[in-house]
């Protein structure tokens, strides 16, 4: 066991972690630990854009962005946090540009913007160009730019270190560090520090069809949960409408932003029925439900469980002409193959590679894919973790990005707002951490700091059973897809809860095949299955309790939103015996009273 002394530890090296590192390292000695090489983080897979009301293409205002976000959240987002994020958006985009981010440009040399689902001109209700982008690899450019700047600034990295436990000083209820497993050697490391920020991303791997990387197993979220930190709004998980059929690989909403449309088996642009004003650019929850309903009513392609996404210029131009769509300079809006290839090169490439389909010539089969966690580790707007309904801060503990719940996304996140969330709250968290580490010294380490991790790993290495953890994981992913997906009922959720309990029982008898120390992925993946089981169970229990439909949580047995009883965040607590207890805290409302949500 090796021991390291730092002031602050950042767990995860995606957009939130790197942004936090740039700012926190100004306050003391900070290290970033990631289970991957930083440039492998899933921020790099984000495609379409990052929103800010810069107004570079047409009139726009941060207030409109904030209202769209609140409406998109189905009124569950905390409006003070949303207003803060949207008002900081323009300056943080400029900061990214100054750091070197190669945004696409307008003819005048400004940052180019495009339309995205749920982002509107609040006066006309029509889609607005708010998504700043670098072709369709905006996340890649954010991740690269932040990593480059970390190199420039000399930030310390521990690559391929899997953090497995959070160390606390139980007496003072303060953070004391983390325990990490060095993947290359199998050695355990204790990092002693007075502050820890989790930026470990989401947990889309809990579902069978997902856009998420294999790394996204909710490790950070699950391990703080096992240390007694509650989780907020876990029942809300977003299904992105356009995953590549069967594979789940994401096809950016930017495709629809550039004019692509969804078609059913009859060739009908069915979103006209579900969202008459913004049509295919409605919020993701609305579009995903529409696709499921079309399929259920037999209008999937050939009666199967997918629909078409049509990006062909002739289709796009047909609808542009019908609608009288115009560019900002007033000329008729039309697209060519060359233009689409320049703006959407990567996504067009995915279709060619994985489906053998050229989307400029043929429509693409798509289905909703598990994409984004709205819920997570509860925090305030400074990314400080809060642990109860009074929002009491846990000293030294921070979370930012997808693993956190501020909450700016409420029951459904708008496209482009995740990248914004990463950089805004990564920065605010990093700044707060810098301040904290200047003012505080670390508490003593607990005795036997690695005991819990050693016990968990020992059980997986030398357990008496013969259960294959991979088998358990795949069964879990299937039941979550079937029972805790876009549409839910009490029956489905109860079935899932039973199945998860059975799998948890079998997990106790799990045993890995690889007994080695060096790069033992078998052991790490078996450990991740434990995290996935925890996350799945909390999600299911919270979903079962919420007897209403709001945003991404759609209960067919309770189809209406119920503001009287359910305009509140869920907080799930883990009792010492492992049972889950639910509590609720109010939503912060500043300007916008809940009203019916129509697109």
């Amino acid at each position: 066991m090796q021991k390291h002394e730092y002031d602050g530890i950042i767990v995860g090296a995606g957009g939130a972690g790197l942004m936090a590192a740039l700012h926190a390292s100004r306050g003391g000695r900070v290290a970033v630990l990631s289970k991957l090489y930083p440039t492998r983080s899933h921020t790099g897979a984000a495609q379409g854009g990052i929103s800010a009301a810069l107004g570079n293409m047409e009139p726009d205002k941060p207030e409109w962005h904030a209202f769209d976000t609140v409406k998109g959240s189905d009124y569950l987002a905390d409006q003070d946090a949303v207003e803060l994020m949207c008002s900081l958006a323009p300056e943080i985009i400029i900061e990214l540009e100054h750091l070197g981010l190669p945004f696409d440009r307008t003819p005048e040399g400004k940052i180019a913007q495009r339309r995205f689902g749920g982002h509107t001109n609040n006066e006309t209700g029509k889609p607005v160009m708010r998504a700043c982008h670098a072709a369709d690899r905006t996340g890649h450019m954010i991740l690269q730019t932040l990593y480059q700047q970390c190199i420039k600034q000399g930030v310390e990295f521990f690559d391929e270190f899997q953090v497995m436990d959070l160390l606390l000083d139980e007496k003072e209820r303060r953070v004391a560090g983390v325990v990490a497993y060095e993947i290359a050697t199998g050695e355990l490391h204790v990092f002693h520090a007075q502050a820890v920020l989790f930026a470990t991303g989401g947990w889309g791997r809990v579902w069978e069809v997902t856009s998420n990387a294999t790394s996204l197993t909710g490790d950070g979220t699950a391990l703080v949960w096992r240390r007694g930190i509650p989780l907020e709004d876990m029942e809300f998980f977003q299904f992105h409408p356009t995953g590549i059929y069967k594979l789940g690989i994401l096809l950016t909403e930017g495709m629809r932003g550039e004019g692509a449309v969804l078609l059913n088996d009859q060739g009908e642009r069915f979103m006209e029925r579900y969202a008459p004003t913004v049509k295919d650019l409605a919020s993701r929850d609305v579009v995903s439900r529409a696709i499921y309903l079309e399929i259920r009513e037999g209008r999937g392609i050939g009666g199967k469980n997918y629909v078409y996404l049509d990006l062909r210029p002739e289709t796009i131009n047909k609808y542009f002409e019908k609608e009288g769509a115009k560019w900002p300079d007033g000329s008729p809006r039309r697209v060519t193959k060359e233009y689409l290839l320049e703006k959407l090169g990567d996504t067009i490439g995915f279709c060619r590679t994985y489906l053998g389909i050229d989307p400029l010539e043929e429509p693409v089969p798509v289905q909703p894919t598990a994409h984004y966690a709205m819920g997570g580790i509860p925090t305030n707007v400074h990314a400080e973790v809060v642990v109860d309904v009074q929002n009491t801060v846990f000293p030294g503990l921070y979370a930012a990005g997808e693993c956190a719940c501020v909450s700016v996304h409420g029951a459904n996140r708008l496209g482009t707002n995740s990248l914004l969330d990463l950089v805004v709250f990564g920065k605010l968290g990093g700044q707060r951490m810098a301040q904290f580490i200047r003012q505080n010294d670390p508490p003593p380490l607990p005795p036997n700091p690695t005991a819990r991790v050693e016990e968990e790993l020992e059980r997986l290495r030398n357990g008496r059973g013969k259960e294959n953890p991979a088998e358990i994981r795949e069964e879990l992913r299937r039941v979550m897809m079937a029972n805790v997906g876009v549409f839910r009922t009490r029956e489905l959720l109860e079935g899932a809860r039973e199945k998860i309990r059975e799998l948890r029982e079998r997990y106790r008898r799990a045993r890995v095949m690889d007994p080695g120390r060096i790069f033992n992925q078998d052991l790490l993946e078996a450990w991740e299955v434990g995290n996935m089981l925890d996350i799945a169970e909390v999600t299911t229990v919270a979903a079962l309790a919420r007897t209403e439909s709001r945003g991404a949580h759609s209960r067919e047995d309770f189809p209406e939103r119920d503001d009287e009883n359910w305009l509140k965040h869920s907080l799930a607590y883990r009792r010492d015996d492992g049972a889950i207890e639910l509590d609720y805290k109010p939503v912060v409302i500043t300007k916008w009273q809940p009203k019916a949500r129509v697109y």
Binding site: T39, G44, A45, I151
Partner: protein
């Protein structure tokens, strides 16, 4: 369909040297090579180690030598390879275990070319302006995902591992030709060393290996031209690249 997969295995805890092991898996023709490797890892032999994450060619984790060529296991479909597939780790780096190599020397070279924007002027309150043409100048090299497929396909790199290699030159190009950058002369000097761009012998293996379709050879040629002319000049036409 059934395919046979031959994998170069090496576990330093038990093996003296690398050896080949063969597995048989049932796959769909449209499955990726990484899907086949997952089947082996999860249901046949859990000791197999291979890095991967995004599974769709964006994160750069799983560049491997597949049927003799450098490519991403998540971007190569089984149907394009035939019934026998061979998989080995990237050449030129120390093998940690099986298909996992030590990438640190690769990232050290990446860091050596100042891979970050340098501009010490006080920035304006808004964005620094850049025309679409100026932005297009370095667009191709912004696509790099640092997978190392190009560098480890390069005979000049195999011959002498001190060569900075195509990936680091691509990263340097991305900043040298960014109109906002002020350190392009320094970066050119780094690439003017005897470990830099002059080591390239125009074999074009890098271009063939790049899973992002970056014209690596053109980037190298543009850096050389900038060194000769002492200016960032105009982009090269494709027929000028040789």
């Amino acid at each position: 369909m059934e395919v046979r997969i031959r994998i170069q295995r090496y576990n330093p805890e038990v093996d003296e040297k690398p050896h080949w092991e063969e597995y048989t898996v049932e796959v769909e023709p449209t499955d990726r090579v990484i899907d086949a490797l997952h089947q082996i890892k999860w249901f046949q032999d859990g000791t197999l180690a291979v890095r991967r994450s995004c599974l769709h060619g964006i994160c750069g984790s799983d560049a491997l030598v597949i049927n003799g060529r450098n490519r991403l296991a998540c971007k190569t479909l089984v149907r394009d390879l035939g019934k026998v597939i061979t998989v080995a780790p990237l050449r030129g780096f120390r093998v940690i275990k099986d298909l996992v190599v030590d990438m640190e020397p690769f990232f050290r070279k990446f860091r050596s070319v100042m891979p970050y924007l340098v501009n010490d002027e006080r920035p304006p309150a808004h964005e620094r302006l850049q025309s679409p043409e100026e932005r297009a100048r370095f667009d191709d090299t912004t696509k790099c995902i640092l997978c190392a497929a190009c560098t480890t396909a390069c005979p000049s790199f195999w011959a002498d591992s001190r060569y900075v290699g195509p990936a680091a030159i691509v990263q340097a190009h991305r900043f040298i030709f960014d109109s906002r950058d002020q350190a392009w002369r320094e970066r050119l000097q780094i690439l003017n060393e005897n470990t830099g761009v002059w080591r390239c012998r125009n074999v074009f293996n890098c271009v063939e290996a790049c899973p992002r379709d970056i014209n690596v050879n053109k980037a190298i040629a543009e850096v050389r031209q900038a060194l000769i002319t002492g200016s960032r000049g105009l982009p090269l036409e494709d027929d000028e690249v040789h």
